[in-house]
Symmetry: D2
Subunit: 347 residues, 4 copies
């Protein structure tokens, strides 16, 4: 297998540095370009001592140096930034995996409403593949442009989509209650809610009824339902660095036991190495730290007749950078787990 | 005002030691008896250096020494233990505030189902007052027996009951998603899930569809609805010591704006010092640490048409020991806030 | 006893808001003025929901409004800011308790060296009382100006000074290794090291060989020794909000047992309510959260012949705002513990 | 290169499960035997969902099954347990890497004093190699028996030994102040100090003047000094799961600048991939999580004339299981970093 060279846009944010961590040990990947505005000119290994042996010097973001040296660009940039370079990258033959929101929403009007930005390359939206390999395996292999989903949508959709497709739960009336570690807020955003003495020993909801990720969740649920749906989504911040646990409340579409729900999920993920369906014990985010594994369990609350789904993953792993590498592996025709099978760090 | 003497059953668990902390500084209370099985014979101030000046010696639990010296017994005991002494205490004229489950559920069959114990004094259930002073203020004053509610039910009911009574939300289809600090698991239960390296940097659900507290929540919701209801309740453990945040999803009973929901809650709690209704910011558990204050906010998710309620309190404060002292104050005809108005410890 | 009115300079930093928390419940104190640059014009209870019932509106710092309404000014300001108003306050008869560094160092040249500021009222340094009531009780009562010490120096000096004065340890060769919670870094300093995902699950030393607090420690040790001394002081950040633990390594001045060391400390603090000397167990910072209590233990490492002292306090309590209230009580001739005897919040 | 088969004694403690995590992904290792008393009969992947794909069934500890299937035994057992099987393993030609204390102390009387156990195979002590590859590289390659050091000694010795050997610091008067995450206490020890609400938001010293690891530190310092030495060692528990930071205070042996100290360390570790010597920033334990890397910095406190060394590592990585795999690699003649070069998990 020939090596490929990868450029990373936004290499010093938490998602970017996790990409460097994973790719610096990937057996088929050479890092060719790392962008950073804040640390441009510095060696990455000096900025991040845990990656002390990574010698690349950080450069400001631009399409040219990526085109010159890389076959793939992995972008972890703020909203709107990918729009500035992705068309040029694609045109030059560089394949793009973008974990920002710019190519996730198929409808540019929905993008404009949630991100207050007008889309400058709507023609590319039709070919962008929403990058959850377990749910949309086919088109990934030959994709030029992958829009890797947000951490919350990955967490919710991995649990919801198989049961929706199997007709076991209703598309309406979904409630997604998510609990996230603080790294989800990013590294450059030194706002008061993420100041240690504020976030420590605290739990709170935020953006109730108005978090941007609900648009993605609804888009993918609607795609199964074949009509528009409204999902209730409430994110919370909990005092830990990594991890998302989503507790999802659904109405059954037809009578089914907990064992049938579990069996449906198990069958769906039978050949997929990164999603583990459990009966007991219930998923813990701790199992996923630093890994690309997700854990799902389905329960039937016989008392109230509700289906309760629990989904755990690492927001920077399967929820972001790990999933990007998984997409990369598949786009290159490699084993899905190549360089990506490290178990979670426990305890 | 004359001083009263109080005995505490279970003084060395987390709830009991919090009672000692509060009552050792209460201007009208003298501590007369402290029970502990594990530390019997030791001075409480030696067992708990943060209460170094509390000189009482711990004794095994028994009715007699309480009857001999106390007008009130505050009990924080495992299920079934209160049954063993409460009838004798009441008979001898000692008033009882019991934060265990023994007198909370009006139907002894429901108690038997959830706690696997047969009730030995069902005749007392009719007079037991469910001890949330804001919701049931009248009968408290003259009560002989108060059944102080669990931490989760207090958290949920403070938000739900006023809106239910006002006919603004439906009694059916309630989902209560609660996030609790680890002290809720108690101190003597040294089980693996509460071992620091296991609970740290982790979030997980537990007892999905089967937590005992759902019985209390349903009992009180049913009392407003006038019929049986089923509530979906999912508790979670988050890596902090104190605090519960409940996120509650309800269907509106009639069209109402978020402002109307907030106004309804504000009016309900207008004269109650310990419940604060906020529009912005959303409640944080951190504000409540060590205090008897609870914070509530109501939001309308216009997108999905759902009412979302957020409720924050300290599981050992308003969720347990603080609320017991609040009941005591009212039973004695004192200011509700006497010895209890310390703000939360922030940060 | 007549009420007094107190103004707080810097009321929205962590030290200031802790002063408000303590004084808002103090039986003899009325809050007359609260300064804040960032939140000027807002009601303090709105900025800090845990103090929801505090109605004062925040104002920019100035001497006049304090002079107009207050007998005491408690200042928790950045270095140099107290210099701007303290002379005017004193001249107008307002007594000042300043927890900033401006009046702590008797030698203005030492102040200039460490704080890069030139002292503008060096004439006041002679009368400033270093505000650790247990160590310097006499001059406090009539002081016009109290320079409350830093959190680290309080932690170290409470353990060291009694043994030094008793001739049990040497003034030379002292090593102070301190571990602090993150609130010590303040609230407005949103720097990367205090961002939750950075500080969480981490411990590191900082300012090795160059922390400003070493100047205070040396000044007070030198005052006992009667000559200049050099102290080695290393602060560390640990992932918790509150608390300082100092581990102090000293050479014995003469042969003494651990029991003699403990007895010396016990005798020294026999009549002081806020310092507790323990043999077993060793001090934990957890016992001190939100309180004005400090815990000290002395051990003799018979193997190496070294005296090891352990000192625990709350950096915002006895290490800062609690100690300021303790000074206020003594300056007013009140009980030292008035409004200040709340035990630590455990767990 | 041929694969080797490895047996793990004590596979379900924190150290053992970390060995499984590392070796399950090691390119040259096959796991042949995993022991556990508590989980015997269960599949490891069921007990530890983060290692869900590890299929081996746990068995009680015994020499025979290891001898039957393995070339190497890696033992992470309580004191005294290795004594029971190591002689048989060696006799049968199985090479042993033991991270317990049984073969670390060359003098069986010292072992007996600290561990209250009488040594039953003292004849093996002479050939046991103390397993810090950077400090004792030569004898490892052909060793039959490696006694891997404790986490605290590794942390201290990596910083101290090179400077001692170079004559830059004195062997006397060493103070080692260490701060450890709670996983160091193990998983089966569900004692109160490690209960989440007790350890959270707390820092405390323990075993002052009496921790067993001081014997190892002194043994290795004495080996350089050529005479007995006494070291002062104080361990502390800090509220995090993984990591040890040691702050070491030493007296210079001759005049040297900080740059010379750093240069000495850099030269010593020039060809060693796992020890990184930094000038700036100071080491953080966070960089090391889940990795085999250690970070060291040397400072000269010009004020007090003391050398201050800071050393950070993961107590379960370079402090335990990582180092055992590093020893294994060297004993097999492989690259030191084989299967072991994963960077620390940040953030």
């Amino acid at each position: 297998m020939p090596m490929i060279t990868v450029g990373i846009g936004g290499a010093t944010g938490y998602g970017g540095v996790e990409l460097v961590r994973l790719l610096s040990r990937h057996p088929q990947v050479r890092l060719g370009f790392l962008s950073s505005e804040s640390y441009a000119g510095q060696r990455l290994g000096d900025v991040y001592p845990h990656l002390g042996d990574v010698d690349l010097v950080l450069e400001p973001l631009a399409a040219e140096p990526i085109i010159d040296s890389c076959q793939f660009a992995l972008l972890a940039l703020p909203a709107g930034k990918s729009l500035e370079i992705t068309p040029a990258l694609l045109k030059a033959g560089v394949r793009v995996i973008d974990v920002g929101p710019d190519y996730r929403l198929r409808d540019p009007a929905v993008y404009a409403r949630w991100y207050k930005l007008s889309h400058t390359s709507p023609d590319l939206l039709a070919e962008a593949v929403y990058g959850i390999p377990e749910l949309y395996p086919e088109p990934l292999r030959d994709a030029r442009l992958v829009a890797a989903p947000g951490c919350y949508p990955t967490s919710a959709l991995l649990a919801v989509v198989p049961l929706l497709r199997a007709g076991l739960i209703q598309a309406d009336d979904l409630v997604v209650d998510s609990k996230s570690g603080v790294s989800g807020a990013g590294r450059s955003s030194l706002a008061l809610p993420y100041h240690f003495p504020e976030a420590d020993e605290d739990v709170a909801a935020y953006a109730v009824g108005g978090h941007r990720h609900v648009a993605e969740i609804e888009q993918e649920v609607a795609a199964v339902a074949g009509r528009e749906v409204a999902v209730t989504f409430t994110p919370h911040l909990v005092p830990m660095s990594r991890g998302i646990l989503s507790t999802i409340y659904a109405k059954p579409a037809r009578s089914a036991t907990a064992a049938e729900l579990t069996a449906c999920l198990r069958e769906f993920y039978a050949d997929r190495p990164f999603v583990r369906v459990l009966e007991e014990p219930l998923p813990h985010t701790k199992w996923t730290a630093g890994s690309n594994y997700a854990y799902i369990a389905a329960r039937l609350d016989e008392h109230s007749g509700r289906v309760i789904l629990i989904s755990a993953l690492d927001n920077l792993g399967k929820g972001m950078s790990g999933q990007m590498v998984q997409c990369l592996n598949l786009m290159c025709g490699w084993e899905e787990t190549l360089g990506l099978d490290a178990p979670g760090l426990y305890p």
